[in-house]
Amino acid sequence: MFKKTIIAAALSLIAITASAADPIRIGSVLSVSGPAAFLGDPELKTLQLYVEKINAEGGVLGRKLELVHYDDGSEASKANSFAKRLIESDKVDILIGGTTTGATMAIAPLVERASLPFISLAGAVVVIDPVKKWVFKTPHTDRMAAEKVFEDMKKRGISKVGLLSETSGFGASGRKETQAVAAKYGITLVADETYGPKDTDITAQLTRIKNTAGVQAVFVFGLGQGPAVVTKNYGQLGMTSVPMYQSHGVASDEYLKLSGKAADGVRLPTPSLLIANALPAGDAQKAIVTGYDKSYRDRFKVEPSTFGGYALDALNLSVDAIKRAGSTDREKVRAALESTKGFVGTTGVFNMSATDHMGLDLSAFRMVEVKNGDWQLVK
């Protein structure tokens, strides 16, 4: 009798733990290899780090999180088939990913059909405009970067700007958005030059801008080493009396390291993460960005990037929505995501609504100026 009771108790215990341990499955499709790897790599690392952390603290709604991940190799077609696999055979509860805009747009129709909440990590406006019922995103848009820059220019009384953009997807989209919002801020683009992402000398384009009548500032829209070459050539041509603005594409310490002294005086819009330690103590984002900065550095021995921050925000938004929904019921989680208000992330403060599935405004960008090889917040 006693034996039987023990066995029964043990069995029921197993049953209980089994149902309690039934994990919440978070699917992700990221570009961890291929050309977009510099975006996808920190995103995956962040997700892994924080899923572990959340589980160590007891999980969500008493259930553990389980990350099911696939690498699309920076190919949109693969992103599509992996998303299909996550929906159909892995049966995930929420989907995070689409490192690039291409991958995101390849996944979007699938989640719409399967009614699965999906948080994208891609930058372009098309992801959330027009609004899709099940698609959300965490990164700022390039349009916001252009607006932030123009806002600052207006404050300084600058109205005639030379635009120099990269021929990459990032630069081309940035150029389009810049041209679209310039008039709203009373800015005239008096020069419109481009350069290739692997160009090693951009003095010819800069000389043209320099010789354009009335240029009061130069706005560079690019990513990676190109903007550093531009900055260096700028100093070489002695153009530093004309203020230079860069986009958020260069918001990393690598840019400072590469362009050296020539970067002094350059202004750019950046997410708060870059200047985690320079934020005033009372800032709403201070805690989350310094916390992320520290955990990432402790674990991976490198500085965290904004891109990883996008992934962290996506994960935290999902967890927050699941908690508020009280279950993983898809419609309830979606509704909870859409009603997110005042959620403080590394990227900014999210206020979602039925018409805005990103929920960020211009305050998510901080205007910084490079001074003596370091970032300084512009007041």
Binding site: A37, F38, D41, T167, E193, T194, Y195, G196, K198, T200, D201, T203, A204, Q205, T207, R208, N211, G224, Q225, A228, V229, K232, G235, Q236, L237, G238, E254, K257, L258, G260, K261, A262
Partner: protein, 291 residues
């Protein structure tokens, strides 16, 4: 007006010398084996990356440069021994495809070993631009130009005056005849890869302070260097230098006077024109094929 023209010219000359150095490497291997070595860009990248990483790690610049050049030279030798020599009797096209494979391998290994970041190398003699007739030039550009010219002179001496150089030249003209007079043609091929790798590394190091370097820096330099080599006729040093400078200056002038959007079309338009009207390149020898 003059200042503007000079500025475009300097820009073109700086970029052009980098293309010229890449073109030289293509020419050397082509001359001894008839193979276009598509891993040449990777030699350039290796030189720049190794020098940048070593000097960032605290090694004095001259020592870092020597080490980077030597290591890359060894990589060139190993590549020839490991992948080209076993396929010796294969067709030239096969060998060319093998070099593409080798280039992907080298690029991949560097990416895994050193990461995907961009690295910079300190300029050899400072960053203060030199003003000349209203246009400005970086001292590093003079280094690139000067060393390129010195290399061409050294190569002319090597191929014209030394026994080894003459042996390499003989192999390029007629492999069988060279073998008959006792030249070890296998070793010549091995040496040509080593030499091309040395030159590539040197080029990569020279341009790194201007252009920065990363694991994928070799793709663009390799491609443009190939165009420059074809422009110059894949013959000798002078052709390679002229091809590189013409390409660089044409790009800069297009960006300056027409529009920067058309700049990247310049190499392709040039190569089409050359292939249509002067299939042997600007400086290619007039060879009559015997039937």
């Amino acid at each position: 007006m003059l200042a503007q023209f000079l500025q475009f010219l300097y820009s073109g000359m700086t970029v052009g010398s980098a293309y010229a150095l890449a073109a030289l490497g293509f020419t050397i291997i082509y001359n001894t084996s008839g193979v276009i070595n598509f891993a040449q860009g990777e030699f350039i990248m290796l030189g720049g990356m190794l020098a940048a990483l070593l000097s960032a790690g605290g090694v004095p610049l001259p020592l870092a440069i020597i080490a980077a050049v030597l290591v890359t030279g060894v990589v060139g030798l190993v590549m020839e021994k490991a992948v080209i020599e076993p396929a010796q009797n294969a067709q030239v096209v096969t060998l060319i495809i093998i070099t593409i494979g080798a280039s992907l391998t080298i690029r991949g290994l560097v990416q895994i070993a050193f990461g995907k970041g961009t690295h910079s190398l300190a300029a050899f003699s400072g960053d203060t631009p030199i003003q000349f007739l209203g246009a400005s030039l970086l001292p590093q550009s003079l280094w690139v130009l000067g060393v390129t010219l010195a290399i061409v002179a050294a190569l002319a001496w090597f191929f014209g005056r030394t026994l080894l150089g003459k042996a390499m030249l003989a192999t390029s003209h007629n492999k069988l005849a060279a073998q008959l007079v006792g030249i070890n043609t296998r070793r010549v091929l091995l040496l040509s890869f080593g030499l091309a790798a040395l030159l590539g590394a040197l080029g990569g190091i020279l341009v790194a302070p201007i252009t920065y370097t990363s694991y994928d820096a070799g793709i663009m330099l390799g491609l443009k260097g190939f165009v420059a080599a074809v422009l110059g006729g894949l013959g000798g040093g002078v052709g390679a230098i002229a091809g590189g400078l013409i390409l660089g200056i044409a790009e800069a002038m297009t960006a300056g006077y027409i529009s920067s959007s058309y700049k990247d079309a310049v190499p392709f338009v040039l190569i089409l024109l050359i292939l249509f009207f002067m299939p042997r390149g600007l400086f290619g020898a007039k060879v009559s094929e015997r039937v």
